[in-house]
Symmetry: C2
Subunit: 126 residues, 2 copies
Amino acid sequence: MHEAAVADANRRYYEAFEAADLDAMSALWERSDRAVCTHPGWATLRGWSQVGASFFALFQQPVHTQFLLTRQHTVVAGDVAWLSLDENLLGEQGGVTVATLNIFVRSSGAWAMVCHHASPVHASVC
Amino acid sequence: MHEAAVADANRRYYEAFEAADLDAMSALWERSDRAVCTHPGWATLRGWSQVGASFFALFQQPVHTQFLLTRQHTVVAGDVAWLSLDENLLGEQGGVTVATLNIFVRSSGAWAMVCHHASPVHASVC
């Protein structure tokens, strides 16, 4: 049951990203100092002001990103959950696989994203 | 107090890596199916057999890796903790910064690593 709720929160992250919906993205995150986000190839952003600003900037871009999620595994441990998954980018960025680790925390019954770490897989290394 | 114990477990990860000490690395990890590791540029490895094998392979290489850890932040939530930090590689790989997210779980009073996700920062993006 918890796994399903976490997977649902995770799904909403990608829906918000695909729709470039900053309100939905903001609603999903824990808007705190411990919010942490590492976009592919970026330095780590810490704190909701930095993280939120990055989504604002990304959503201004004309590139439309679509995700096909594979290899998704969810672990729930108390009020913390993490998902390991692959983001397979479709469309203009097609062919790129991004290894991802997302952390959610539960507060007042709702799961909020607190960490997102995404990194491109370089085929030459694998 | 918990933060210090987690930071200590995290320090032992980097000591084991620098010493190429597979026994110490094995002792630190949760040797389970949910162990997850993403080395820089690699696809995600899941399960201790894959993760352990990757350290065995890495530790066979003649490259000596030294880490200078910066921007380290620890969050403890019940029996789960995560650290966000930068690995600054010294020596032959000098000048590379690797954004990292490590997750630890507490079992029988000891903190074990269960996720390690490391990705190179590309200066051009930041």
